[in-house]
Symmetry: C2
Subunit: 488 residues, 2 copies
C-alpha cells in the first residue's frame, strides 16, 4: 500500500509494549465476584465489592492508564499477552506445544483471541465462563470484580465438540493449548470451565431472531461445537495478520498513548464498516466543532473501521483502508485531529445488542464520546422484506445500557445530498425535495457500473478505490470471495 506512509504521518511511533504492571498468576480471581448460590443460604459468593480483596483483584492484571482519559471498564486495561521480558513467552510456547489437549482456532476465534488479548473486552480475562455468558445473554452486562456492572452485550465464547470435551474432562485437564489452523500454538487457556452451547438460545437472545441466514451465525455458530469452554487466556505473542495492515491495528493501550501524546481532552469514536462518504465526513467535522463549542480544547476523532469478519457483500477491509487513506490524503478529514486504526472485532450484525459492544470496546480504547447512527450494526431481515431492527432502537438501547453511563452518546444527524448546493449536508426537512438519499445499495450499484455519483458525494480518490474494488471482482465472480450475491 503505497500511500500508507503519508496516511500514517499523523500517527507517532508507538511503543510496542507500553508500561505494564501485572502479576504472574491471576488465576480466576477477577471473575469470582459473581458466583452462583450453592445449597447454603445466601447468594453472592466470592469477592465482595468494595473490600480490600476486590481492590487487589482489580489491580492485579492489566495496564495502568493515564488519568486524563476515560477509565477502562474494571479500572485497568486488561493485557493478556505474555511479557517479552523474563522468558515468559518461551516458557508459554513450550508449554503450549506440550499440552495434551489442543483446540484449533477458526478465523473468528482467533479474532476474539486478539480482541481479548488487548483488553478491548476489559475486564474479561479470557473466553467467557458460564456465569459471564449467562449475564451477557440475559443482561447485556456483567458484574465486575468491584461490584459494578460493566457492559458486555455479545458472548465472547469458544466452542468445542463432544469428543474433545469428553477427552479433556476424562483427563481432568485444567489447561488447554489454543492453536491456529496450521497447528502453531497461539495461547493457553487455563482454569477452564466447560458448559453447554445452547445455540438456539444464544442466537435468539443475541439477534432477536432465529431466522436462517444471519452471517455471523452461519460463519461461527451453526457448525460450531455443542460445548463452550471458558477460562483465563494467556497469549504467547501479539496477534499479527501480516496483510500489510498490522500497522493500523493499534491496541487500546497504544491508542491511549496516542491520544495522550496529542493532549486530547475528548476522544470521539466513529465505528464503520463501509467506505467514508462526505456525509460521514461532515458529521465527524461537525462533531468536532460541537465539542469545541462545548469547551473542549482538543477533541480527537478515532476513525475506527471494523477489521474482523464481515459478510460477503461488505467491502473488504483492505479496500476500505485504501479508501479511508484517500479521504485523509484529499483533506476531507484533518489528519491532525484524526487517528485511523482498525478495530479487530468480528461483526455480528446484531443491531442494538452489538452497538453496545462497539461502544464499550471504544471506552477501553479511551473514547468518551461515541457517534451512533441510524440502524447501527443492522442489516436486512434474512428471510423477510424488512430491516431486521427498528432503525432507532440502536441509539435508544445504547443510551440506556447498563455499564455505559460514563460514555456520551452522540446521535447521528442525517446527512443527504443537497442537489441545490451540490454537496452533502444535514437534511433540512423544510426543503426536503432538494435532498437526495444515496443508499449503500445505490452507491455499490454505481461503483459496480463504473458510474460516478453526484459531485461532492465522495472525494474522487476515494470513489476511484471503490470502482477499482468492484472491477477486481469481475474475473472472480462466483468465486469464494463472493459467497453471497451482491445486492443489485
Amino acid at each position: 500500500m503505497a500511500t500508507q506512509a503519508a496516511f500514517l504521518a499523523g500517527l507517532s511511533q508507538l511503543a510496542a509494549q507500553p508500561g505494564r504492571d501485572r502479576a504472574v498468576a491471576p488465576a480466576r480471581v477477577a471473575v469470582a465476584a459473581v458466583g452462583v448460590g450453592s445449597a447454603k443460604v445466601g447468594v453472592r459468593v466470592g469477592v465482595k465489592a468494595g473490600t480490600a480483596e476486590a481492590k487487589a483483584v482489580a489491580q492485579r492484571r492489566g495496564v495502568r492508564c493515564r488519568a486524563s482519559l476515560i477509565e477502562p471498564d474494571g479500572g485497568r486495561l486488561v493485557d493478556l499477552v505474555a511479557p517479552e521480558e523474563g522468558g515468559r513467552r518461551a516458557a508459554l510456547r513450550r508449554e503450549a506445544a506440550e499440552l495434551p489437549h489442543r483446540l484449533r482456532l477458526s478465523r473468528v476465534d482467533k479474532e476474539w483471541v486478539h480482541v481479548l488479548s488487548e483488553g478491548w473486552a476489559s475486564p474479561l480475562q479470557g473466553f467467557m465462563r458460564e456465569h459471564e455468558f449467562l449475564q451477557a445473554l440475559h443482561f447485556n452486562a456483567i458484574r465486575g470484580a468491584d461490584g459494578r456492572m460493566v457492559n458486555m452485550s455479545v458472548p465472547i465464547v469458544l466452542s468445542l465438540g463432544d469428543a474433545q470435551r469428553r477427552a479433556i474432562q476424562a483427563d481432568g485437564a485444567t489447561r488447554v493449548a489454543l492453536v491456529d489452523q496450521r497447528d502453531r500454538p497461539i495461547a493457553v487457556l487455563s482454569d477452564i470451565e466447560i458448559y453447554k452451547h445452547n445455540k438456539e438460545e444464544r442466537i435468539a437472545r443475541t439477534w432477536g431472531t432465529t431466522a436462517p441466514g444471519l452471517p455471523y451465525v452461519e460463519e461461527a455458530i451453526t457448525n460450531a461445537g455443542d460445548w463452550l469452554i471458558g477460562g483465563d487466556l494467556e497469549v504467547i505473542e501479539p496477534i499479527k495478520y501480516n496483510d500489510g495492515l498490522d500497522q493500523y491495528r493499534l491496541s487500546p493501550a497504544q491508542l491511549r498513548e496516542e491520544f495522550a501524546r496529542r493532549n486530547a481532552d475528548a476522544v470521539f469514536a466513529f465505528q464503520l464498516r463501509n467506505p467514508v462518504h462526505n456525509g460521514h465526513a461532515l458529521l465527524m467535522t461537525d462533531t468536532r466543532k460541537r465539542l469545541l463549542e462545548m469547551g473542549y480544547k482538543n477533541p480527537v476523532l478515532l476513525l475506527h473501521p471494523l477489521g474482523g469478519f464481515t459478510k460477503a457483500d461488505d467491502v473488504p477491509l483492505s479496500w476500505r483502508m485504501k479508501q479511508h487513506e484517500k479521504v485523509l490524503e484529499e483533506g476531507v478529514l484533518n489528519p491532525e485531529s484524526t487517528v485511523v486504526a482498525i478495530f479487530p472485532s468480528p461483526m455480528h450484525y446484531a443491531g442494538p445488542t452489538e452497538v453496545q459492544w462497539h461502544a464499550k470496546a471504544r471506552i477501553n480504547a479511551g473514547a468518551n464520546f461515541y457517534i451512533v447512527g441510524r440502524d447501527p450494526a443492522g442489516m436486512s431481515h434474512p428471510t423477510e422484506k424488512r430491516d431486521l431492527y427498528d432503525a432507532d432502537h440502536g441509539k435508544k438501547v445504547l443510551s440506556m445500557a447498563p455499564g455505559l453511563e460514563r460514555l456520551n452518546i452522540l446521535p447521528f444527524k442525517v446527512a443527504a445530498y443537497d442537489t441545490k448546493q451540490k454537496k452533502m449536508d444535514f437534511f433540512d426537512p423544510s426543503r426536503k425535495d432538494d435532498f437526495l438519499f444515496i443508499s449503500g445499495t445505490k452507491m455499490r450499484t454505481l461503483a459496480k457500473n463504473r458510474e460516478n455519483p453526484p459531485d461532492g458525494f465522495m472525494c474522487p480518490g476515494g470513489w476511484k478505490v471503490l470502482v477499482e474494488y468492484y472491477d477486481s471482482l469481475v474475473p472472480s465472480e462466483g468465486s469464494s470471495k463472493l459467497r453471497e450475491p451482491v445486492a443489485a
Copy 2:
C-alpha cells in the same frame, strides 16, 4: 369451596384498602428518568438520580410500607386503583364511558391490569412505554426514577391493531379507555405512547427460541395487534374474578399488612403452579428451620400459587387451591407460619427470564427470601425432544440478576421418594438406589388412572382432589378445557 373458611383461619381480616398516600396527577414523571438522547450532546435526560426532584418523584404515587419488611422496588408500592373517597371512581368511570377510543382487554390483558394496579410490578405505573419495553427485553431491568436498576424481565405490554392505532393517532388522543370483553370500563390509560410490536424480536429475546407452540405466545402474542400502547394506568376499582377465589387474591399491600400483623422478621416465598407434594412441604418446613437457625425469630412462608393464564395441561387454579387447602388442613404445612395467597400474573413458561419476574414481584409483596427450584418456569421444548432451558440456569440467572441484589435466593434441595423410609426426603447420593423420582408426568398419569402414589408422597386428601380433577375431565375430554392433549 366448603373448607375455605378453615383454610383462611390463619389469615386475619384484611382492610380492603390499607393507608394510602398518593398524589392526584402523577402524569409520567416516574418513568421520565431514563429518556433517550436527542440530537443534542449528552445522553440521559430527565430526572437525575439522587436529586431532590428524583426523591419527590419516587414518593409521589404509592403506598407507604412498614419499615420492618423489605422495601418495594422504587421505594413505594405502586397503587393504581382510583381511591373510593372523593368521587374519583365515579368520575373515572364516567370518563371511561365517554372516551372516544376504547381498547378491549383479553383475559391475559386484564390479568396484567390486575398485576399493575396492585403494584406487583412496582415501580411501573402502567403498561410499558417503549423505553421500558426495550430495557426489559435487552437488560431484564429498568432504571428507576431514583437512578437505581429495578429488575423487570418480562414485557408488560398492551397491543392494538393498525386501524385502531391510526384512529387514535389521527385524533391526537392522549387518553384511552380499557374495557372488558363485555365492554364494561375497567381503566383509563393516559399520556399514551404507541410503538411497534415486533413480535419475533419480543419472543426471541424473552423465550430464547421462536419455535411454534409456546403457550403464552399462542395465547397472547401471535394473534395480538402489531402495535403496543404504553401509558399511565388508573383502574376504576379493584379487579375481581367472582370465582370463589377472590379472598385469596391478596394484594402486595395486603400481604405486607398480614406479615406485619404476624410480626414476621423473614418472609420466604414459594412460587408454584402445581399441586403440593410432601417433597415441597419438606423443603418449606426445612427452609423455616434453617431461617430459625440463622437467628430469625418468626419466618413466615408465602405459599404463592400462580393464578393467571396457565397452559392447558396444568392443573387449573381452582383445583390447585382445593389441593393446597387439604395440605394445610391435614397439617402438612403449619397454618400459623404460612400465608396462602394467589399471585395474579399469567404464566410465560420463559424459564430463567420469567423466574426473575416471579422473584421481583414477591419483593414487592414483602418477601426477602425466594425459594428457587430446578428448571423454574420451564417446560419441554415445543418442537424438540429436550427441556427448553438448562435446569440450572434459572437459579444461576436469578442469583446474578440486576435489581435483585436485596433478595436472598434459596436454591431448592432435591427431594425424592425414599423407598426405605417410605417418605419424601432430601436426596442422598450415597444411597441413590433407595430413591424414586416421581415426575409431574408420572404423578398426572397415576391420578388419571386413579392409582395411588407411594405412601407418603402426598397427603391423602390432596391426592383425592387430584383424582377428582382428572375424573372431572373425562366427560369433557376434547372440550375447550383441554386445548392441548395431556401428556401421557
